[in-house]
Symmetry: D3
Subunit: 287 residues, 6 copies
């Protein structure tokens, strides 16, 4: 590290000052777990943000790993509207993979950086109270759930003691039934409840485009109203729609900004946070 | 509840006073998970102890569930000296079953009693630093580990905020490799580190006998010296030997008493703690 | 204690959870001090409630003991509307008996259960600021007083440090004159000021009857509106009227429920709190 | 108050600085309660010391008032070696007079000065654990006790919350029996346990003289060794001997200085503390 | 100190009780630094108030010392409307004299009394954010500033740790430019922000007169409305006008009373605070 | 900031982890104040270290500015052994320049970075108790002082509330006389008293050379024993000798490492701390 490099450190100062003691909820998508270099860079980025005094809460997904395990167990699953029909046996496997494998891997890697990460599921200390998700079509999704409420005292107890909660997106109802919940929604609910500075979705897409086939139409910064127009005009569609719903819900409930970042690019998280232009799409909460 | 019943409550008073603000480490054995009535009674007992002001830390096993899952996955395993040879793939399954299934089940049932239970593994916040277990025979056990150290600040942070830690017996080394560790040893290490009031082993045996074939030889209360004599004379043998080693280690390191309780009998935990004679075997630490 | 007995303990769990960290103000009537068995059971009950995490504040009376001492001293007293005309010399004796004898007896018995009880009078740290009670008839009651205000910071200082205040119902005005105050009113004022979970009157009556001569007309549970009707219709009368006024005042000021319990029956306090039906009369605050 | 008067305030500054945050135990003797002017001045002095940041703990006696009450009740008492033989009925009266009358009077007068005084007896929260005092002569003193131990956590809880404990010299044994204890000894025990800055005896004597018949032989300042010589030579004798034993015990156990002050002289307490020469006798702890 | 003197101490009791734990902002004027006896008496007074439990914040001026230093440095200065035109070089000298000389002298003298005084300027921890003062006449005053905001968290951090802040009246804008600010205004702003019990101006005038030429017209106590009338009628004029504006601003913003005291008279501060009539003029906030 | 730049940030991670919550005492020499670029870089570096969780205490010098001011005031000064003979008038000027000018400049620039800097002198809250420095030659240095003791409670109060103390090297004796003290010694005393992680001297020399005329003989890392040898052999001499004495004193008293850094090179502080080789000379405390 020489003078020039130190100046790069110094460039980060205004961002560190700005976000110090603020809270970020980061959804880390399951599709990028296989990219070892990107994962390592992500862990580095979280460690640096945490040591800079930013409170981090991580929510992870895990779809591909679940499918892989179900295949190994010769367990067939059906999808309705992109949601996995989850019988009791499948739910057990979902929970094992999410809470017992992916959750502990992320936690351990953070711990190896000297970060006090703590892997929990939404069932611990009733973090996520859930209920069965019902479809208008009356089709039964089994143990697929929706968030009813968040135990934010529990999260604050951890965050205030400088632990980073790493959360697997599973909730339980009052009878103790476990439910598989979409991780994007879980992250949005938590960010809404805590009214965080940022909700950050890290997945395998670069962000939002006006025209998905035209790279030059990439949108760097956008506000709530514009997002709604893009949806109405059909520019945003498909799998991006539910993610936008999660984003808007969080912004409506007091989250300051939402970011969509490509997790496949190394250090995309830090670049997004520590530069003015960023690298992904930032949806401003506006006031 | 009438006058007579209330007098039974009152009988518990001296025990509540005695153990208030003390800490119990409870090892809950995997072999008794299938007994639903006994499990429900155990959860009740833990809730009552916790609400009586006793700090509880639970360590659980899970051998039978692991074997079941390995069978489903057509994964063969070999045993050396009763220890499961654990390759990387097996370790993943062990962790999923322990941290992702059993751990969350116990945690959820406690939470349903209004108890703030928190399911963690020894990998969270570096709770258990482990190393590979080496055999004199040079045979390779794979990812079977031994405890190197315990992060007791982490446990105290949780206990002082009135959370009950439910711990799956997995540790990690500095490189982040996960190891499967004998739960009896984990409980003993934690109890040693925190110098707890009691270390309680709940399993499917009634306790210690002078003559295992003679029910009337059951030992209600015994001290360290006598345990050593019983081992030397061969009265204690087989699978009970390692459990006795764990017990003696805990007592030597400041645990006040160790209890062996039959988890198949409903409410055996409360009966042991809240009566003078108890129901299992109590090994006194002596001074 | 065997399995069946332990199940009785477990039955108390939901009540312990419900009232944990809540505050009960208990008025313990002077008429039941002579019943040694009942008194011992009462002390046991308070100890168990306290160890279950409920904050207890006790206000005691002492009429019979005061009369006894006045007789010994050949001091005659007159009553107007059931209130003892209290000259300065009588007041000294009242205070000695209440604060110096009864108060210390209750406190000592609680302390002998390992409870940190603290006997105080309303004069300590200006707990009860009082004024002379004036009658419409212009007759002079001497040092009979009414509550003007309660120093609740003082009570909270004690309660938060886990001391049980045992309060003798004496107040002082700004000049330091002591006044004898009805203990039922003192309990009601304190419960009003702290907006407690329960105000409990323990005396030598079973509770409220629709027809005092018909045992089967006993009322187990009643609300404020019904109490007012019972008074208007004349079903509640005599000495019960002022107690009902105290109860209604407490409920109007934020106390959740008021209980009337027969202190002569052993463990009636625990039975009332730890069962659904109770044993006395519960007046619901309603909302 | 004019400039000259303010200069008198300023003269107190060095003493305030010196004793700020230190603790004084003051024994206030029963013989001076009747002197209203002196009592009022004493209360003023305590208020000023307390508001100057000095922690005050008061222990009071009450012999004359007890005798008066016993006379009223036609209760005869016998003395052995100056100690009142105390049967159960006498003990009840002793406690009523001490804890129920004198204690509350002192407390109330302090409270009227805006001081948070709190009148307690040694039975509250097991402040004074006592045992029966046995005589070599085997004569039975009844409920006359000796201090076994002091609950200093309780005192510190009060002092740290800025309450002034006013203590009546009664203790209880494990069975709850109350004992009458010499107040000088109680004050000395408390001062020993807390290792206070000063133990101050306020009574109806001026202090120590070399020759009790020669006013000019008054001793202003003396050390432990000199006291022992004065006793050995017979210059100190009679009722002063036990007070000297109490003083020496306190000094031996860490009390810094002991003062003997004439409580009949108005403001003698402040004059003793806030001037170099003082007005009574100061026994230096020396080091 | 004898009985009579102690009674003078006792006379201070009601005032100590009244102002305990309250906050006084004291502006100490530069014109009285030369009077050594008065300064010493002032320091004594502040020490006594502080040890009596009153929180003190001192703001000092320093005009004469600044002029003296400028003369030594042959630096000419011009005044517009009584405000010193302050170029950059002058500002450096102003700051050196205020923060580096006067500030440290007052601080050191307080420290020598065992008081934890802490000399700061308005630039420390952004205590005073300032902006350039603009004149309607468009004349340029240079680095003469006005208060924009006060960092009261910083003041409270110091006061709550029992430090006495001694503040030199200099502020800085966001670019770090230092400004010389009228100390009367600074004191008024701080008192307004903290809504203090008293704002006390100590200068070389006795207070307010109806007729400045008639000593007998001195006003001891006055309210806001009367002050406004006195100004309107021209009885208050000249240099007293801005001081009255500061006083009224503080009273309008929650300061309880403002006092004007003659600092040349020894102990005038204590006399004003510790007597009913005082010695200066008290402007009541009224409600 | 792009991926490559972010990787530079990440390189700083191990250093941030290592020094987090540790304390550095930094002596910032007066000779480098004129270099605006270097000063700005220094402020940036301190801000980054502070935001990384390192506690910073700054001690500054100011020789050149003092000389400049003395010249302006036509005040001649004499030097004995390199120490400025300081009469009362000179001392006033020294204090004004140090505490009133340099101190406030550094403080303000840190505050403009959002850092809570607090400019104090050693006279505030008796931070530095000093005494007159006596020469063997009996020549009188006037108000040149030596450190007698440090009030470390005061420093910890500030550091624990996240304020950065910026200290001007002036102390006072018990009579309030101010003394000018060598800033290198002040920094060493403070570092000794707090047993800090690092004591860092930033001046206008690059560090230590074996042969001051041979650039290639620059010493990057050295231990205490080697320093002593270098002094004994005469390789270290002149003005470097007292700095080495300060360094050795700090290391002997528990400071972990001492660094000598060239303040003229921009960002030399960060480069020294955040790289393995550093840029100046590190003297290891060794154990």
């Amino acid at each position: 590290m020489d003078t020039k490099n130190v100046e790069i450190l110094i460039e980060a100062l205004p961002y560190i000052k700005k976000f110090r003691n603020k809270t970020f909820v980061i959804k880390y998508g399951g599709s990028i777990f296989k990219n070892e270099l990107a994962k390592k860079a992500f862990i580095d980025d979280v460690a640096l943000l945490s040591l800079s005094g930013i409170n981090i809460i991580i929510v992870h997904g895990g779809g591909p790993n679940i499918s892989e395990m179900l295949t190994k167990l010769d367990k067939k699953t059906r999808f309705i509207n992109g949601l996995r029909v989850t019988d009791k046996e499948t739910m057990d496997i979902v929970e094992m993979v999410l809470s017992g494998k992916i959750n502990k891997e992320i936690t351990t890697e953070l711990c190896n950086h000297g970060i006090n990460a703590l892997g929990i599921s939404g069932r611990d200390s009733k973090l996520i109270t859930a209920k069965k998700k019902l479809l208008n079509s009356k089709e039964d999704l089994g143990y697929v759930g929706e968030v009813v409420s968040i135990n934010n005292k529990f999260l604050l107890d951890l965050v205030n003691k400088n632990y980073i909660p790493v959360i697997s997106p599973i909730g339980a109802d009052d009878k103790g039934n476990a439910y598989n919940i979409n991780a994007d929604y879980v992250a949005s609910f938590i960010s809404s409840k805590l009214k965080t500075e940022k909700l950050i979705y890290i997945s395998d897409v670069k962000g939002i485009y006006k025209d998905i086939n035209d790279d030059s139409s990439f949108i760097n910064r956008v506000n709530k109203k514009e997002i709604k127009e893009l949806i109405n005009k059909g520019f945003i569609n498909g799998g991006m729609i539910p993610k936008m719903e999660c984003s808007l819900m969080a912004l409506d409930n007091g989250t300051k900004d939402v970011h969509l970042i490509d997790g496949r690019k190394e250090h995309s998280l830090l670049i997004e946070i520590f530069t003015n232009d960023g690298i992904g799409t930032m949806i401003e909460g506006g006031f």
